[in-house]
Amino acid sequence: MAQTLFDKVWERHVVSQQPGEPALLYVDLHLIHEVTSPQAFAGLRAAGRRLRRPDRTVATMDHDVPTDPRPFKILDEAAAEQLHALGENCRDFGVRLFDLDSEEQGIVHVIAPELGLTQPGMTIVCGDSHTSTHGAFGALAFGIGTSEVEHVFATQCLWQSKPQTLRLTVEGERRPGVSAKDIILHIIGTIGTAGATGSVIEYAGSAIRALSMEERMTVCNMSIEAGARAGMVAPDAVTLAYLRERRFAPRAGERDAEWLALASDASAQFDAERHFDAATIEPQVTWGTSPGMVAPVSGAVPDPRQMTDAAARAAAERALEYMGLRPGARFVDIAVDRVFIGSCTNARLSDLEGAAAIIRGRRVAPGVRAMVVPGSRSVRREAEARGLDEVFRQAGFEWREPGCSMCLGMNPDILQPGERCASTSNRNFEGRQGNLGRTHLVSPEMAAAAALAGHFTDVRQA
């Protein structure tokens, strides 16, 4: 029977299953970090259990870490304790850890692909919802809670009910100035933040095929913002080329044929399908407190009174009050205080290159504080080798050390109450970047343009 990409990966990982019950699914790669693992390690210890496959478990430090010049002393005691605990746990259980002294340290969803740990056809889990990022390689990758982290530690498996499949086909050519971030924001704005709940998305179509691996990661990263369990893209020549010569990837070409065969069969059936035209997508800006509250930058903040759905109207009213915006305000008239280029969505080399191309030889607007937080030490190194750090510094950006940083503000990088930020991260929830902070999600290019202008600007005119 014709199978989807998802079906093929799923089927290969079923360890056992009784009819009508969830499947016991094998996990090929378990990524962990300091925030969602300590209670799981404690659970293992309390029950006297071993960590079944330390060789399939990889750890990094990212969520809590300061982005100041290194070496630094971590002043936040709770964060320091969590980082210390991860170090001890990894040592005690024999888990490979990319700690703050490592040249490979960085955000978990940035380093696993760049090290070649993420490979097509794998099942990958992590105690972090943006694990969907790894689906860009045709892996089945999803976020789990801490109890499930402990379960994977002990058994290398998870009980999973088979999700639905949803194919999102994006055809056509994107217009200049439109990034992968704009594609996924547009999709979320169209299908809604619960539009893919219970489903695994496969992104397909000519506009997806045309994306680089880093761009595909940006798209898959935000699958969770549409409520999806995971997002996937079928492996192709772009995938194979990316994986060549990566540290943990198989020898060049060795598994290419097997990986290419993972693509959905031509006649495979999906539970649901949606189609998009890339040519109609414009650069996007979010205006509310949910990623689905998004619109083209050429437009204006919507008027909740024109919304027919009562719940949507109430949510929009609440969001506009929180965001300090009035209906009808044009995006280009909205001033920003802060600009954040970073996170597992948009802190890879091509993201930094895209932003640098906009700001080269120009200056950040007076009164705007702008920062770049590379996704990993490797991204930082490669960017420096290309002189991007100088481009950013000369424009007035801060050039910082890698970590999650102001994506979630667990470290000292946060917004002050009322501050408005153009951010390349993935969540504009209330308080996400700091209590009463106001987050607008945009692409790296749009963030760079906002930094220069001091307000949102259509990057095509920047």
């Binding site: 969830p22 969520h63 969590q82 919802s129 801490t146 009910s161 949910s290 996400r432």
Partner: protein, 174 residues
């Protein structure tokens, strides 16, 4: 985990859509090595407002949260489930949930119930998991999750009984 069988309790209503786990428990409370004591972070930012429902004396002691659609979307932080439990919530009723949050609840003996029309007006409700009813009205739940919740099972112990199958699977891999 503590079993969930039948619960008769006070309702606390939160009629908002897309309540994300960043709201349920903000990041500063994630810097912990423990699962305990997290109710101090529960809806921390919203509780700055004295009128917020979780601050109202009448709702203290509530054990059933009735919420809007897509409740618990966003971050995978299990701290959201731990914080609700620590406050005394044992059951959340909403039209839909974030997938990871739904899972996390089930792993902690906190019963998530999907009802298209959540009973926002109710003062007290009786939830019966064995019969799958809320005040007599039926709800659906996957039989495996139901079994684990009713018995309070540690599913790691269950999975370890499949050791032979796991080892055989591993032996088949190249």
């Amino acid at each position: 985990m503590q079993p969930f069988t039948r619960l008769e309790g006070r309702v606390i209503p939160l009629d908002r859509a897309n309540v994300d786990t960043d709201q349920i428990i903000p990041k500063q409370f994630l810097k912990t090595l423990s699962r305990q004591g997290l109710s101090r972070g529960l809806f921390f930012d919203w509780r700055r407002d004295p009128a917020f429902v979780f601050n109202q004396p009448g709702y203290q002691g509530a054990s059933i949260l009735v919420a809007g659609e897509n409740f618990g979307c966003g971050s995978s932080r299990e701290h959201a489930a731990w914080a609700l439990l620590d406050f005394g919530i044992r059951c959340v009723i909403a039209p839909s949930f974030g997938d990871i949050f739904y899972n996390n609840c089930c792993k902690n003996g906190l019963l998530p119930i999907r009802l298209a029309q959540p009973p926002f007006g109710a003062e007290r409700l009786t939830v019966d998991l064995a019969r799958q009813t809320v005040d007599g009205a039926p709800f659906a739940i996957d039989p495996y999750r139901k079994h684990c919740l009713l018995e309070g099972l540690d599913d790691i112990a269950i999975t370890l009984r499949h050791e032979a199958a796991i080892a055989a699977y591993e032996a088949r891999q190249p």
